[in-house]
């Protein structure tokens, strides 16, 4: 069932009016805003990406009648509502500072240095209210201001970088660029290193598996299938320190 076939199923569905940038269209009530745009006749080029809620291309602002509040959502995930008034925001120019991750240090004042506008945060929480991923945006900005890289990283992890927070921030912060800086600093400098990874890289570089692999590569089909079928499988509920019965090929 592809997206166009979804149109056939909606044939007998009730239609609801929605307003696309002020213009009224009747749309089957089960469609997402993104599919509603296509149903109405738009061929999407901007404001569409993964169609699955993770790429951040389709940040959308909308209102519903008799309610002054501005609501946000991802067009690909948000189902239409009767009389909703929508505008998709496919792009917003946020401030971004290029940096060399190998040269910067995870110092607490790094955010203030790279993004001095971070001090203009008014604590208004508009960014949190503008986040379609339910992130506590102001909280991670607050952590960044305090220099708490780990907290800023973990709190901002779900960010799809749609830019809605930046678009609405009265302090003109580019929250999502601050967030990813925090995450990369955390991942490189603060999270503990996985020493086993480097040990394995060393083993490969020294050619430890060369002979075994070459033998597999040259093995005739039936022999390969036999080796495959007989290979030991780590149990489903094993713990991280599990070891196979045989030390061979390790």
């Amino acid at each position: 069932m592809n997206d166009t076939q979804a149109l056939k199923i909606t044939v007998n569905e009730p239609l609801v009016p929605i307003f696309i940038m002020g213009k009224r269209y009747l749309i089957p009530s089960s469609l997402t805003i993104q599919k509603a745009l296509e149903y109405a006749g738009y061929q999407l080029v901007r404001g569409v990406g993964c169609r699955g809620g993770i790429c951040g291309a389709c940040g959308t602002v909308y209102r519903i009648p008799k309610d002054h509040t501005i609501k946000v959502g991802l067009a690909c995930q948000t189902v239409v509502e009767r009389d909703m008034r929508i505008a998709v925001l496919p792009f917003f120019p946020a401030n971004r500072k290029a940096y060399n991750l190998r040269q910067v240090l995870p110092e607490p004042d790094i955010f203030a240095r790279f993004y001095p506008e971070i001090m203009r945060c008014m604590g208004c929480n508009t960014c949190t209210k503008s986040c379609p991923m339910d992130i506590s945006t102001m909280e991670y900005i607050s952590a960044a201001i305090r220099g708490d890289i780990e907290k800023a990283a973990t709190l901002s992890f779900d960010c799809v970088m749609c830019g809605l927070c930046t678009a609405r921030c009265p302090g003109e912060l580019g929250q999502y660029n601050i967030g990813i800086l925090a995450r990369r600093l955390y991942g490189r400098y603060i999270a503990r290193k996985a020493t086993h990874v480097h040990e394995m890289v060393e083993r490969v570089a020294q050619g430890r598996y060369e002979e075994d692999l070459r033998r597999l590569m040259a093995a005739p089909g039936e022999e390969l299938k036999t080796i495959y079928t007989r290979r030991e499988v780590e149990p489903e509920l094993s713990q991280d320190f599990w070891e196979p019965k045989s030390p061979e090929h390790l």
Binding site: M1, N2, T4, A6, L7, I9, S30, L31, T32, E38, A40, G41, Q43, V45, R46, G49, C50, G52, C55, Q77, V79, A98, Y99, L101, D134, F157, M161, I180, R183, R184, L185, Y186, G187, R188, A191, A194, H196, V197, H198, M200, R203, V204, Y209, D212, L213, M217, G221, K225, Y228, T229, R231, V233, E234, E236, L237, W242, E243, P244, H249, L250
Partner: protein, 557 residues
């Protein structure tokens, strides 16, 4: 859009059998896995085996190859423009390495080429990062657990999943480079999930014999894509980005080398000429071709463009006769249809069940076998769960995970899907999900070698658009690995080529003219143009009223 009453009633069948199934699992008793022979028999129910869905290619380097209609349609198609209209003497962009595609493979290629001293131009169809990489969820395979795993076992798994017909050199490269990819990601600040002591958390995937799938919560692809995209943005002087400018054909010169591409600006409809010393094709997958009418998990631009362009330049394709259907695509609610439910859910213990709440397949078979089993149960056996929209599905019993690993596990390990379903009124820690196979991955593609080279000098391939490393079926977690391993290799090789073997020449489109002629002789109708660029989701009622609009292929002009 919570489950309607008639569906909630069917969930009772699942709840009724759950305690017994959990007890069996905890006692180590799983539904029996299939033997290699049983796997072969089950695959006959796979969409790849439907003969009416395929035909033989009538032109080009892989003429005679029997593949799905949708792939023939994009390979047996004319250029989008008339080659006589293109002015090849006026160049809009010149660069050392042109990377076509801004996903995981393209970005990895760009980074490594730049590190070799090359000037890089990334041309993307949509935004940088709008790619299947962003959507990959489960994880990235690599043998990093010293003492428990090694590239030897990884090699075996890749071959077994691929039906033992994979290109051995490509697999060797994939599994031996894998540990270094994890080290590279850690170095770049990628937040892969770790234990408090720094040890990488890893899981099983379908067809793996060791738990070697590294992950970043349930958004591994997004975390990787965000990280490497951010790194590319940190090199603005040497990596230039051209968004919304998909390539529509490759440029060759009189030496038979590839020397760049023709781009189409999606915003302004202009055509640009890029002269590049080396070109990397990293255009990704083709789910939006909706092969055999299936829903897909892919991003909007996944229309197999690189296949078309390289095929015209003389690159053959392989393993394109098998397309990977992800066994568990959401089939309810409508808004989520096609969405990928990561294999990790099954890796964490969730059973696949029919309408009676009974298992009919071991939940961790390789994907093609798993998908075939679900299709067979719903169609042939008739024990599918009916959805309100008139489709069929099977249950994916996610509440089992809460019982097996403790309350809160589902929300913690699968936060993305938890939020998504919660928006629709379904709490996946308490209610099972409805799934059906969905089009997911292009197992095969363009012919390339372990250095990323093709038979055309100056033309390199990386990522999903290429074929050989996964054989006839890719294992979970090997795609994110594929794009980074071969993306980096293509970048390195392309940069080296641009600095040594590159031979400047006179740009031409003779291959395009020649191929257009071949198609005309074969009777292909002139309306068939490719690359497709974007899928057609137009509303027929709207099109009837568009009296003065032209559609060039699927694109509104």
């Amino acid at each position: 859009m919570a489950y309607p009453p008639e569906v909630k009633k069917l969930i009772q069948n699942v709840e009724r059998t759950r305690a017994e199934r959990i007890a069996a699992k905890q006692a180590g008793k799983e539904f029996p896995a299939m033997t290699l022979d049983e796997r072969k028999q089950m695959l006959e129910h796979h969409p790849d085996y439907k003969e009416e869905g395929r035909r033989e290619l009538v032109a080009g380097p892989s003429k005679g190859y029997r593949i799905a209609h949708e792939y023939c349609d994009i390979l047996e198609a004319y250029s989008r423009y008339d080659p006589d209209d293109i002015d090849l003497d006026t160049i809009q962009y010149a660069t050392d390495v042109l990377v076509i595609g801004g996903g995981g493979a393209g970005t990895a290629a760009a980074l490594l080429a730049e590190e070799q001293g090359a000037k890089v131009l990334i041309a993307t169809k949509l935004r940088h990062g709008d790619a299947n990489t962003m959507m990959a969820e489960g994880g990235i395979q690599a043998a990093t657990k010293v003492g428990a795993d090694s590239p030897y076992f990884h090699y075996l798994d890749v071959l077994g999943g691929g039906h033992f017909v994979n290109d051995p050199e490509l697999v060797y490269t994939l599994v031996t480079e894998a540990p270094d990819i994890i080290a590279w990601l850690e170095d770049l600040g990628c937040m892969l999930s770790k234990f408090p002591d720094g040890r990488m958390k890893t899981m099983h995937g379908g067809g793996t014999c060791r738990k070697r799938m590294h992950y970043a919560a349930d958004i591994t692809g997004a975390e990787i894509m965000r990280t490497i995209r951010d790194e590319a943005r940190n090199r603005p002087g040497s990596i230039t980005l051209l968004e919304f400018c998909p390539a529509v054909d490759l440029l060759l010169n009189e030496h038979g080398h590839c020397e760049g591409a023709v781009l189409f600006n999606l915003d302004t409809h202009e055509y640009y000429i890029v002269r590049a010393k080396a070109t990397v094709i990293a255009t990704g997958g083709s789910g939006r071709l909706h092969t055999q009418g299936f829903m897909c998990t892919n991003h909007y631009g996944a229309t197999g463009d690189g296949l078309t362009m390289a095929y015209r330049a003389g690159i053959p394709v392989r393993f394109l006769h098998t397309i990977q259907y992800h066994p568990t695509g959401a089939v309810f609610p409508e808004q989520a249809e096609g969405l990928l439910i990561t294999e990790k859910v099954r890796g964490a213990g969730a059973h696949i069940l029919n309408v009676d709440g009974r298992q009919f397949v071991y939940e961790r078979e390789p994907r093609d076998v798993e998908a075939a089993a679900i299709i067979r149960e719903c169609t042939l056996v008739g024990k599918g769960v009916p959805t309100p929209a008139g489709k069929w599905g099977a249950w994916l019993d996610s509440p089992m995970i809460e019982i097996l690993s403790g309350p809160g596990t589902v929300q913690r390990e699968f936060p993305g899907k938890y939020i998504l379903f919660k928006r629709y009124g379904i709490e996946i820690d308490k209610e099972p999900m409805l799934i059906y196979p969905t089009l997911h991955y292009q197992n095969g593609g363009l012919f390339y070698d372990n250095k990323g080279k093709t038979s055309v000098p100056g033309l390199f391939v990386a990522g999903e658009v290429g074929g050989g490393v996964h054989g006839e079926n890719r294992l979970m977690g090997n795609s994110l690995l594929d794009v980074l391993v071969f993306g980096r290799i293509a970048g390195r090789t392309a940069a080296a080529y641009s600095q040594s073997d590159y031979k400047a020449g006179k740009l031409h489109l003779e291959h395009v003219r020649k191929y257009n002629g071949e198609l005309k002789a074969a009777g292909i109708p002139p309306s068939k143009v490719a690359p497709m660029l974007l899928p057609d989701y137009s509303n027929p009622a709207v099109r009837k009223r568009q009296l003065t609009t032209d559609y060039h292929g699927t694109l509104r002009e």
